[in-house]
Protein backbone atom coordinates (compact mmCIF):
# COMPACT_ATOMS: atom_id res chain seq x y z
CA UNK A 1 0.00 0.00 0.00
CA UNK A 2 3.03 2.28 0.10
CA UNK A 3 2.54 3.51 -3.47
CA UNK A 4 -0.92 4.95 -2.80
CA UNK A 5 0.29 8.41 -1.68
CA UNK A 6 2.46 8.77 -4.80
CA UNK A 7 -0.41 7.86 -7.11
CA UNK A 8 -3.00 9.98 -5.31
CA UNK A 9 -0.60 12.90 -5.06
CA UNK A 10 0.17 12.85 -8.77
CA UNK A 11 -3.52 12.78 -9.60
CA UNK A 12 -4.30 15.73 -7.36
CA UNK A 13 -1.42 17.75 -8.76
CA UNK A 14 -2.59 16.98 -12.29
CA UNK A 15 -6.05 18.31 -11.41
CA UNK A 16 -4.66 21.52 -10.03
CA UNK A 17 -2.16 22.06 -12.83
CA UNK A 18 -4.80 21.54 -15.49
CA UNK A 19 -7.89 23.68 -15.08
CA UNK A 20 -10.11 20.72 -14.08
CA UNK A 21 -9.90 21.23 -10.31
CA UNK A 22 -10.31 25.00 -10.58
CA UNK A 23 -13.26 24.76 -12.93
CA UNK A 24 -14.95 22.28 -10.63
CA UNK A 25 -14.23 24.34 -7.52
CA UNK A 26 -15.38 27.62 -9.03
CA UNK A 27 -18.47 26.04 -10.53
CA UNK A 28 -19.29 24.42 -7.24
CA UNK A 29 -18.79 27.62 -5.28
CA UNK A 30 -20.96 29.60 -7.70
CA UNK A 31 -23.75 27.04 -7.94
CA UNK A 32 -23.87 26.29 -4.25
CA UNK A 33 -23.84 29.98 -3.42
CA UNK A 34 -26.64 30.63 -5.84
CA UNK A 35 -28.75 27.75 -4.56
CA UNK A 36 -28.10 28.83 -1.00
CA UNK A 37 -29.52 32.28 -1.66
CA UNK A 38 -32.49 30.78 -3.50
CA UNK A 39 -33.16 28.50 -0.59
CA UNK A 40 -32.95 31.34 1.94
CA UNK A 41 -35.45 33.35 -0.10
CA UNK A 42 -37.81 30.43 -0.44
CA UNK A 43 -37.56 29.79 3.26
CA UNK A 44 -38.55 33.37 4.08
CA UNK A 45 -41.44 33.30 1.63
CA UNK A 46 -42.82 30.08 3.04
CA UNK A 47 -42.51 31.39 6.57
CA UNK A 48 -44.36 34.60 5.84
CA UNK A 49 -47.01 32.70 3.87
CA UNK A 50 -47.74 30.39 6.78
CA UNK A 51 -47.80 33.33 9.13
CA UNK A 52 -50.33 35.12 6.94
CA UNK A 53 -52.68 32.17 6.83
CA UNK A 54 -52.09 31.45 10.53
CA UNK A 55 -50.99 27.84 9.98
CA UNK A 56 -49.06 27.58 13.21
CA UNK A 57 -48.78 23.80 13.05
CA UNK A 58 -47.13 23.94 9.64
CA UNK A 59 -45.04 26.90 10.70
CA UNK A 60 -43.42 24.87 13.44
CA UNK A 61 -42.27 22.16 11.01
CA UNK A 62 -40.57 24.67 8.74
CA UNK A 63 -37.19 24.89 10.49
CA UNK A 64 -33.79 25.83 9.25
CA UNK A 65 -32.81 22.18 9.24
CA UNK A 66 -35.92 20.53 7.89
CA UNK A 67 -36.66 23.08 5.25
CA UNK A 68 -33.74 25.30 4.37
CA UNK A 69 -30.81 22.95 4.77
CA UNK A 70 -32.57 19.86 3.54
CA UNK A 71 -33.68 21.63 0.37
CA UNK A 72 -30.25 23.14 -0.02
CA UNK A 73 -28.48 19.79 0.30
CA UNK A 74 -30.86 18.29 -2.21
CA UNK A 75 -29.85 20.85 -4.81
CA UNK A 76 -26.19 20.24 -3.92
CA UNK A 77 -26.80 16.58 -4.53
CA UNK A 78 -27.94 17.58 -8.01
CA UNK A 79 -24.71 19.53 -8.50
CA UNK A 80 -22.70 16.51 -7.36
CA UNK A 81 -24.58 14.40 -9.87
CA UNK A 82 -22.87 16.46 -12.60
CA UNK A 83 -19.59 17.40 -11.00
CA UNK A 84 -18.49 14.00 -9.74
CA UNK A 85 -18.51 12.43 -13.21
CA UNK A 86 -16.65 15.47 -14.56
CA UNK A 87 -14.06 15.11 -11.84
CA UNK A 88 -13.51 11.38 -12.19
CA UNK A 89 -13.83 10.95 -15.95
CA UNK A 90 -10.10 11.43 -16.49
CA UNK A 91 -8.86 9.15 -13.72
CA UNK A 92 -8.14 6.12 -15.85
CA UNK A 93 -8.91 7.40 -19.35
CA UNK A 94 -5.98 9.82 -19.22
CA UNK A 95 -3.58 6.96 -18.49
CA UNK A 96 -4.79 5.18 -21.60
CA UNK A 97 -4.54 8.33 -23.72
CA UNK A 98 -1.03 9.18 -22.49
CA UNK A 99 0.13 5.57 -22.82
CA UNK A 100 1.13 5.72 -19.17
CA UNK A 101 -0.72 2.58 -18.21
CA UNK A 102 2.22 0.77 -19.73
CA UNK A 103 4.39 2.42 -17.08
CA UNK A 104 1.92 1.66 -14.29
CA UNK A 105 1.34 -1.97 -15.19
CA UNK A 106 5.06 -2.71 -15.49
CA UNK A 107 5.90 -1.03 -12.17
CA UNK A 108 6.02 -3.00 -8.92
CA UNK A 109 2.63 -1.68 -7.81
CA UNK A 110 -0.50 -3.70 -7.23
CA UNK A 111 -3.90 -3.19 -8.87
CA UNK A 112 -5.34 -2.22 -5.51
CA UNK A 113 -2.70 0.44 -5.00
CA UNK A 114 -3.53 1.89 -8.38
CA UNK A 115 -7.31 1.89 -7.86
CA UNK A 116 -7.17 3.12 -4.27
CA UNK A 117 -4.62 5.79 -5.13
CA UNK A 118 -6.91 7.20 -7.80
CA UNK A 119 -9.98 6.86 -5.61
CA UNK A 120 -8.26 8.60 -2.74
CA UNK A 121 -7.50 11.56 -4.99
CA UNK A 122 -11.20 11.77 -5.89
CA UNK A 123 -12.09 11.49 -2.20
CA UNK A 124 -9.80 14.41 -1.43
CA UNK A 125 -11.50 16.56 -4.07
CA UNK A 126 -15.01 15.64 -2.88
CA UNK A 127 -13.92 16.44 0.67
CA UNK A 128 -12.67 19.82 -0.48
CA UNK A 129 -16.03 20.56 -2.09
CA UNK A 130 -17.84 19.55 1.07
CA UNK A 131 -15.57 21.80 3.13
CA UNK A 132 -16.64 24.70 0.93
CA UNK A 133 -20.20 23.69 1.58
CA UNK A 134 -19.58 23.48 5.32
CA UNK A 135 -18.26 27.04 5.18
CA UNK A 136 -21.43 28.21 3.50
CA UNK A 137 -23.55 26.30 5.98
CA UNK A 138 -21.62 27.81 8.86
CA UNK A 139 -22.95 31.28 7.98
CA UNK A 140 -26.38 30.03 9.08
CA UNK A 141 -25.04 29.63 12.59
CA UNK A 142 -24.11 33.28 12.59
CA UNK A 143 -27.60 34.48 11.63
CA UNK A 144 -29.79 31.70 12.96
CA UNK A 145 -29.78 28.70 15.22
CA UNK A 146 -29.93 25.43 13.33
CA UNK A 147 -29.40 22.15 15.17
CA UNK A 148 -25.65 21.56 15.17
CA UNK A 149 -25.66 17.77 15.15
CA UNK A 150 -28.39 17.44 12.60
CA UNK A 151 -26.55 19.84 10.32
CA UNK A 152 -23.25 18.03 10.77
CA UNK A 153 -24.96 14.72 10.11
CA UNK A 154 -26.51 16.12 6.92
CA UNK A 155 -23.11 17.26 5.68
CA UNK A 156 -21.57 13.94 6.58
CA UNK A 157 -24.36 12.22 4.68
CA UNK A 158 -23.78 14.35 1.63
CA UNK A 159 -20.05 13.58 1.87
CA UNK A 160 -20.84 9.87 1.93
CA UNK A 161 -23.03 10.27 -1.15
CA UNK A 162 -20.13 12.08 -2.88
CA UNK A 163 -17.74 9.28 -2.00
CA UNK A 164 -20.17 6.73 -3.40
CA UNK A 165 -20.49 8.71 -6.62
CA UNK A 166 -16.71 9.01 -6.90
CA UNK A 167 -16.44 5.21 -6.76
CA UNK A 168 -18.94 4.93 -9.61
CA UNK A 169 -16.87 7.52 -11.50
CA UNK A 170 -13.70 5.48 -11.00
CA UNK A 171 -15.41 2.48 -12.50
CA UNK A 172 -16.81 4.39 -15.49
CA UNK A 173 -13.41 5.86 -16.21
CA UNK A 174 -11.73 2.46 -16.05
CA UNK A 175 -13.77 0.80 -18.75
CA UNK A 176 -13.34 3.27 -21.60
CA UNK A 177 -10.66 5.30 -23.31
CA UNK A 178 -12.87 8.34 -23.86
CA UNK A 179 -13.43 10.82 -21.02
CA UNK A 180 -16.73 11.85 -22.60
CA UNK A 181 -18.06 8.30 -22.54
CA UNK A 182 -16.81 7.94 -18.97
CA UNK A 183 -18.73 11.06 -18.01
CA UNK A 184 -22.00 9.93 -19.51
CA UNK A 185 -21.62 6.39 -18.28
CA UNK A 186 -21.04 7.56 -14.73
CA UNK A 187 -23.92 10.00 -14.98
CA UNK A 188 -26.22 7.28 -16.34
CA UNK A 189 -25.35 4.84 -13.59
CA UNK A 190 -25.97 7.50 -10.96
CA UNK A 191 -29.27 8.43 -12.54
CA UNK A 192 -30.31 4.82 -12.82
CA UNK A 193 -29.49 4.21 -9.17
CA UNK A 194 -31.61 7.21 -8.31
CA UNK A 195 -34.54 6.09 -10.45
CA UNK A 196 -34.58 2.46 -9.29
CA UNK A 197 -37.02 3.40 -6.56
CA UNK A 198 -39.44 4.85 -9.11
CA UNK A 199 -39.03 1.80 -11.32
CA UNK A 200 -39.79 -0.37 -8.32
CA UNK A 201 -43.00 1.58 -7.64
CA UNK A 202 -44.13 1.18 -11.22
CA UNK A 203 -43.37 -2.53 -11.03
CA UNK A 204 -45.26 -2.72 -7.77
CA UNK A 205 -48.35 -1.15 -9.32
CA UNK A 206 -48.18 -3.38 -12.38
CA UNK A 207 -47.85 -6.60 -10.45
CA UNK A 208 -50.17 -5.71 -7.61
CA UNK A 209 -51.15 -8.80 -5.69
CA UNK A 210 -48.47 -11.08 -7.10
CA UNK A 211 -46.40 -12.06 -4.07
CA UNK A 212 -43.49 -13.40 -6.14
CA UNK A 213 -42.65 -9.91 -7.34
CA UNK A 214 -42.31 -8.59 -3.81
CA UNK A 215 -38.74 -9.57 -3.18
CA UNK A 216 -37.76 -8.05 -6.50
CA UNK A 217 -39.37 -4.70 -5.77
CA UNK A 218 -37.92 -4.82 -2.29
CA UNK A 219 -34.48 -5.46 -3.74
CA UNK A 220 -34.88 -2.61 -6.24
CA UNK A 221 -36.03 -0.34 -3.47
CA UNK A 222 -32.98 -1.17 -1.41
CA UNK A 223 -30.69 -0.67 -4.38
CA UNK A 224 -32.13 2.70 -5.25
CA UNK A 225 -30.10 5.51 -3.79
CA UNK A 226 -32.80 8.15 -3.33
CA UNK A 227 -34.29 6.88 -0.09
CA UNK A 228 -30.88 6.38 1.42
CA UNK A 229 -29.52 9.77 0.65
CA UNK A 230 -32.73 11.50 1.56
CA UNK A 231 -32.43 10.05 5.01
CA UNK A 232 -28.79 11.08 5.19
CA UNK A 233 -29.42 14.60 3.96
CA UNK A 234 -32.08 15.05 6.61
CA UNK A 235 -29.37 14.34 9.11
CA UNK A 236 -30.50 10.83 9.96
CA UNK A 237 -27.35 8.76 10.14
CA UNK A 238 -29.27 5.54 9.66
CA UNK A 239 -26.99 2.51 9.67
CA UNK A 240 -28.90 1.02 6.72
CA UNK A 241 -28.17 4.09 4.64
CA UNK A 242 -24.55 4.17 5.69
CA UNK A 243 -24.26 0.48 4.88
CA UNK A 244 -25.77 1.16 1.50
CA UNK A 245 -23.13 3.73 0.54
CA UNK A 246 -20.27 1.73 1.98
CA UNK A 247 -21.52 -1.20 -0.06
CA UNK A 248 -21.78 1.00 -3.17
CA UNK A 249 -18.19 2.20 -2.74
CA UNK A 250 -16.82 -1.30 -2.15
CA UNK A 251 -18.78 -2.77 -5.03
CA UNK A 252 -17.61 -0.26 -7.61
CA UNK A 253 -14.01 -0.26 -6.43
CA UNK A 254 -13.88 -4.04 -6.67
CA UNK A 255 -15.36 -3.77 -10.17
CA UNK A 256 -12.80 -1.13 -11.11
CA UNK A 257 -9.94 -3.29 -9.93
CA UNK A 258 -11.32 -6.15 -12.00
CA UNK A 259 -11.55 -3.98 -15.10
CA UNK A 260 -8.01 -2.63 -14.67
CA UNK A 261 -6.66 -6.13 -14.31
CA UNK A 262 -8.62 -7.46 -17.26
CA UNK A 263 -7.30 -4.66 -19.50
CA UNK A 264 -4.08 -6.56 -19.94
CA UNK A 265 -5.84 -9.65 -21.20
CA UNK A 266 -7.26 -7.82 -24.18
Amino acid sequence: MRHIPAIAGRELRAWFVSPVAWVVLVLFALLSGFFFLMQVRLFQEVLSYYQQIQQLEALRSVTLNNFLLFGYYQTIWLVLLFLTPALTMGLFTSEKINGTQELLLTSPITFWELVLGKYLAAVAMVTLLLLLLALQTATLFVFGNPEFWQTAAGLLGLWLVGLGYAAVGCFASSITKSPLIAFFLCFSILLLLFLLGQIASIGMAATAGAPAAHWLTDALRWLSSDRHFEALLRGLLDTRSITYFVFLIAFFLVLTRGVVESARWR
Binding site: N98, L103, P108
Partner: protein
Amino acid sequence: MIEALGLSKRYGDVLAVDDVSFRAEAGEVVGFLGPNGAGKTTTMRLLTGFLPATEGTVRIAGHDIFEAPGLARRAIGYLPETPPLYPEMQVQSYLRYVARLKDVPRKRLRDAVERAMERTGLGELRRRSIGQLSKGFRQRVGIAQALVHEPEVLILDEPSVGLDPIQMREIRQLLRELADSGRDGAGQTIVLSTHLLGEVEAICCRVILLHAGRKVLDQPLSELTRDGGSLEDVFTRHTLREPLAAEAEAEGA
Protein backbone atom coordinates in the same frame (compact mmCIF):
# COMPACT_ATOMS: atom_id res chain seq x y z
CA MET B 1 19.79 -11.28 -16.98
CA ILE B 2 16.77 -12.09 -19.11
CA GLU B 3 15.57 -15.58 -19.79
CA ALA B 4 12.64 -16.17 -22.15
CA LEU B 5 11.41 -19.68 -22.72
CA GLY B 6 8.98 -20.65 -25.46
CA LEU B 7 7.15 -17.33 -25.52
CA SER B 8 3.95 -17.25 -27.58
CA LYS B 9 1.22 -14.68 -27.80
CA ARG B 10 -2.02 -15.31 -29.59
CA TYR B 11 -4.60 -12.65 -30.46
CA GLY B 12 -7.67 -14.53 -31.59
CA ASP B 13 -6.48 -16.41 -34.66
CA VAL B 14 -3.29 -14.44 -35.08
CA LEU B 15 -0.10 -15.75 -33.56
CA ALA B 16 1.78 -12.51 -32.93
CA VAL B 17 4.72 -14.19 -31.23
CA ASP B 18 5.51 -17.81 -31.94
CA ASP B 19 7.72 -19.84 -29.60
CA VAL B 20 10.50 -17.34 -29.01
CA SER B 21 13.27 -18.28 -26.59
CA PHE B 22 16.47 -16.46 -25.77
CA ARG B 23 18.83 -15.47 -23.01
CA ALA B 24 20.65 -12.23 -22.44
CA GLU B 25 23.38 -11.81 -19.84
CA ALA B 26 24.54 -8.78 -17.89
CA GLY B 27 26.61 -6.44 -20.04
CA GLU B 28 25.00 -7.64 -23.24
CA VAL B 29 23.18 -5.37 -25.65
CA VAL B 30 20.75 -7.40 -27.70
CA GLY B 31 19.11 -5.85 -30.72
CA PHE B 32 15.66 -6.97 -31.81
CA LEU B 33 15.46 -6.54 -35.53
CA GLY B 34 12.63 -7.21 -37.88
CA PRO B 35 10.25 -5.61 -40.31
CA ASN B 36 7.15 -3.81 -39.00
CA GLY B 37 4.66 -6.26 -37.58
CA ALA B 38 7.32 -8.88 -36.88
CA GLY B 39 6.32 -9.02 -33.22
CA LYS B 40 9.07 -6.87 -31.69
CA THR B 41 6.77 -4.71 -29.58
CA THR B 42 4.62 -7.64 -28.51
CA THR B 43 7.70 -9.60 -27.46
CA MET B 44 8.89 -6.68 -25.37
CA ARG B 45 5.49 -6.34 -23.75
CA LEU B 46 5.66 -10.03 -22.86
CA LEU B 47 9.14 -9.57 -21.39
CA THR B 48 7.98 -6.72 -19.16
CA GLY B 49 4.83 -8.52 -18.09
CA PHE B 50 2.61 -5.79 -19.52
CA LEU B 51 0.95 -8.53 -21.54
CA PRO B 52 0.58 -12.06 -20.26
CA ALA B 53 2.07 -14.66 -22.57
CA THR B 54 -0.26 -17.28 -24.02
CA GLU B 55 2.55 -19.73 -23.45
CA GLY B 56 6.04 -19.64 -22.10
CA THR B 57 7.85 -18.02 -19.19
CA VAL B 58 10.00 -14.96 -18.62
CA ARG B 59 12.57 -14.61 -15.88
CA ILE B 60 14.08 -11.23 -15.14
CA ALA B 61 17.18 -11.28 -12.94
CA GLY B 62 16.12 -14.76 -11.90
CA HIS B 63 12.53 -13.82 -10.94
CA ASP B 64 9.53 -15.11 -12.85
CA ILE B 65 7.59 -12.12 -14.17
CA PHE B 66 4.24 -13.61 -13.14
CA GLU B 67 5.14 -15.55 -10.03
CA ALA B 68 7.29 -12.85 -8.45
CA PRO B 69 6.08 -9.74 -10.24
CA GLY B 70 7.26 -7.33 -7.57
CA LEU B 71 10.87 -8.46 -7.69
CA ALA B 72 10.95 -8.91 -11.44
CA ARG B 73 9.40 -5.53 -12.18
CA ARG B 74 11.73 -3.71 -9.84
CA ALA B 75 14.56 -5.08 -11.98
CA ILE B 76 13.10 -3.76 -15.25
CA GLY B 77 13.41 -0.37 -16.86
CA TYR B 78 11.05 -0.15 -19.77
CA LEU B 79 10.63 2.37 -22.53
CA PRO B 80 7.43 1.50 -24.42
CA GLU B 81 6.84 2.33 -28.05
CA THR B 82 5.21 5.62 -27.01
CA PRO B 83 7.05 7.10 -24.02
CA PRO B 84 4.68 6.97 -21.01
CA LEU B 85 4.63 10.66 -20.14
CA TYR B 86 2.22 13.00 -18.37
CA PRO B 87 2.28 16.20 -20.44
CA GLU B 88 1.28 18.45 -17.54
CA MET B 89 4.12 17.30 -15.29
CA GLN B 90 7.55 18.83 -15.02
CA VAL B 91 10.51 16.66 -15.99
CA GLN B 92 11.93 16.47 -12.50
CA SER B 93 8.71 15.73 -10.65
CA TYR B 94 7.77 13.16 -13.27
CA LEU B 95 11.05 11.29 -12.77
CA ARG B 96 10.58 11.52 -9.02
CA TYR B 97 7.11 10.02 -9.37
CA VAL B 98 8.43 7.13 -11.50
CA ALA B 99 11.24 6.53 -9.00
CA ARG B 100 8.68 6.28 -6.20
CA LEU B 101 6.61 3.80 -8.20
CA LYS B 102 9.74 1.73 -8.75
CA ASP B 103 10.54 1.57 -5.03
CA VAL B 104 13.63 3.76 -4.96
CA PRO B 105 14.19 4.38 -1.22
CA ARG B 106 13.17 7.85 -0.06
CA LYS B 107 16.69 8.85 0.90
CA ARG B 108 18.01 8.07 -2.55
CA LEU B 109 15.17 9.65 -4.55
CA ARG B 110 16.90 12.95 -5.16
CA ASP B 111 20.18 11.34 -6.25
CA ALA B 112 18.44 8.86 -8.51
CA VAL B 113 16.50 11.61 -10.28
CA GLU B 114 19.60 13.83 -10.60
CA ARG B 115 21.61 10.97 -12.05
CA ALA B 116 18.94 10.01 -14.59
CA MET B 117 18.63 13.64 -15.74
CA GLU B 118 22.38 14.03 -15.97
CA ARG B 119 22.78 10.89 -18.03
CA THR B 120 20.11 11.87 -20.51
CA GLY B 121 21.14 15.53 -20.62
CA LEU B 122 17.91 16.83 -19.17
CA GLY B 123 19.34 18.81 -16.26
CA GLU B 124 18.56 22.20 -17.73
CA LEU B 125 15.01 21.22 -18.60
CA ARG B 126 14.10 19.94 -15.14
CA ARG B 127 11.41 22.55 -14.56
CA ARG B 128 9.89 22.38 -18.01
CA SER B 129 6.48 20.80 -18.59
CA ILE B 130 6.87 17.60 -20.54
CA GLY B 131 4.12 18.69 -22.92
CA GLN B 132 6.23 21.63 -24.06
CA LEU B 133 9.25 19.53 -24.97
CA SER B 134 10.21 18.55 -28.50
CA LYS B 135 9.80 14.97 -29.59
CA GLY B 136 13.49 14.27 -29.13
CA PHE B 137 13.52 15.55 -25.58
CA ARG B 138 10.37 13.66 -24.75
CA GLN B 139 12.09 10.52 -25.95
CA ARG B 140 14.97 11.34 -23.63
CA VAL B 141 12.59 11.75 -20.70
CA GLY B 142 11.22 8.33 -21.67
CA ILE B 143 14.70 6.87 -21.49
CA ALA B 144 15.38 8.69 -18.22
CA GLN B 145 12.30 7.12 -16.61
CA ALA B 146 13.53 3.69 -17.67
CA LEU B 147 16.91 4.35 -16.04
CA VAL B 148 15.88 6.15 -12.90
CA HIS B 149 15.83 3.16 -10.57
CA GLU B 150 19.03 1.68 -12.05
CA PRO B 151 17.41 -1.57 -13.09
CA GLU B 152 19.34 -4.69 -13.95
CA VAL B 153 17.48 -5.01 -17.20
CA LEU B 154 16.60 -2.32 -19.70
CA ILE B 155 13.96 -3.00 -22.31
CA LEU B 156 13.77 -0.21 -24.86
CA ASP B 157 11.28 -0.18 -27.70
CA GLU B 158 12.82 1.94 -30.46
CA PRO B 159 14.85 4.23 -28.19
CA SER B 160 16.18 6.45 -30.97
CA VAL B 161 12.89 7.31 -32.66
CA GLY B 162 12.50 11.06 -33.04
CA LEU B 163 16.09 11.88 -32.16
CA ASP B 164 18.35 13.87 -34.43
CA PRO B 165 21.69 12.33 -35.45
CA ILE B 166 23.62 14.03 -32.64
CA GLN B 167 21.13 13.01 -29.97
CA MET B 168 21.09 9.55 -31.45
CA ARG B 169 24.83 9.28 -31.05
CA GLU B 170 24.61 10.49 -27.45
CA ILE B 171 21.96 7.94 -26.60
CA ARG B 172 23.96 5.15 -28.20
CA GLN B 173 26.97 6.26 -26.24
CA LEU B 174 24.89 6.17 -23.07
CA LEU B 175 23.51 2.71 -23.77
CA ARG B 176 27.03 1.41 -24.42
CA GLU B 177 28.17 2.85 -21.11
CA LEU B 178 25.24 1.31 -19.28
CA ALA B 179 25.96 -2.09 -20.72
CA ASP B 180 29.60 -1.82 -19.75
CA SER B 181 29.34 -0.54 -16.23
CA GLY B 182 25.93 0.96 -15.63
CA ARG B 183 24.94 -0.90 -12.55
CA ASP B 184 27.55 -1.00 -9.83
CA GLY B 185 30.07 -1.94 -12.47
CA ALA B 186 28.18 -5.15 -13.16
CA GLY B 187 26.71 -3.90 -16.41
CA GLN B 188 23.06 -3.82 -17.38
CA THR B 189 21.32 -6.22 -19.69
CA ILE B 190 19.85 -4.21 -22.53
CA VAL B 191 17.31 -5.34 -25.06
CA LEU B 192 16.32 -2.80 -27.68
CA SER B 193 14.25 -2.95 -30.77
CA THR B 194 14.95 -0.92 -33.84
CA HIS B 195 14.74 -1.00 -37.55
CA LEU B 196 17.83 1.07 -37.95
CA LEU B 197 20.51 -1.36 -38.96
CA GLY B 198 23.18 1.23 -38.23
CA GLU B 199 22.06 1.35 -34.62
CA VAL B 200 22.49 -2.37 -34.26
CA GLU B 201 25.96 -2.19 -35.76
CA ALA B 202 26.89 0.68 -33.50
CA ILE B 203 25.89 -0.72 -30.12
CA CYS B 204 24.59 -4.27 -30.15
CA CYS B 205 26.71 -7.29 -29.50
CA ARG B 206 23.99 -9.69 -30.51
CA VAL B 207 21.17 -9.63 -33.01
CA ILE B 208 17.85 -11.41 -32.75
CA LEU B 209 15.93 -11.24 -35.96
CA LEU B 210 12.17 -11.64 -35.72
CA HIS B 211 9.99 -12.36 -38.66
CA ALA B 212 6.27 -13.08 -38.57
CA GLY B 213 6.47 -13.67 -34.83
CA ARG B 214 9.28 -16.18 -35.03
CA LYS B 215 12.91 -15.94 -34.16
CA VAL B 216 14.72 -16.56 -37.41
CA LEU B 217 18.20 -15.62 -36.30
CA ASP B 218 20.11 -15.23 -33.03
CA GLN B 219 23.81 -14.58 -33.47
CA PRO B 220 26.61 -12.37 -32.24
CA LEU B 221 27.07 -9.40 -34.52
CA SER B 222 30.69 -10.32 -35.14
CA GLU B 223 29.72 -13.68 -36.62
CA LEU B 224 27.02 -12.17 -38.79
CA THR B 225 29.28 -9.80 -40.63
CA ARG B 226 32.40 -11.98 -40.53
CA ASP B 227 32.22 -13.12 -44.11
CA GLY B 228 32.19 -9.52 -45.30
CA GLY B 229 28.43 -9.33 -45.96
CA SER B 230 26.59 -6.32 -44.61
CA LEU B 231 23.88 -6.53 -41.99
CA GLU B 232 21.46 -5.32 -44.60
CA ASP B 233 22.09 -8.42 -46.71
CA VAL B 234 21.45 -10.65 -43.73
CA PHE B 235 18.30 -8.75 -42.87
CA THR B 236 16.87 -8.92 -46.39
CA ARG B 237 17.86 -12.56 -46.84
CA HIS B 238 16.05 -13.65 -43.70
CA THR B 239 12.97 -11.51 -43.91
CA LEU B 240 12.34 -12.13 -47.58
CA ARG B 241 13.10 -15.82 -47.43
CA GLU B 242 9.55 -16.97 -47.14
CA PRO B 243 8.01 -15.07 -50.03
CA LEU B 244 10.98 -16.08 -52.19
CA ALA B 245 10.65 -19.71 -51.20
CA ALA B 246 6.97 -19.56 -52.05
CA GLU B 247 7.82 -18.06 -55.41
CA ALA B 248 10.38 -20.76 -56.10
CA GLU B 249 7.84 -23.39 -55.29
CA ALA B 250 5.32 -21.77 -57.60
CA GLU B 251 7.86 -21.71 -60.39
CA GLY B 252 8.79 -25.33 -59.76
CA ALA B 253 5.20 -26.46 -59.97
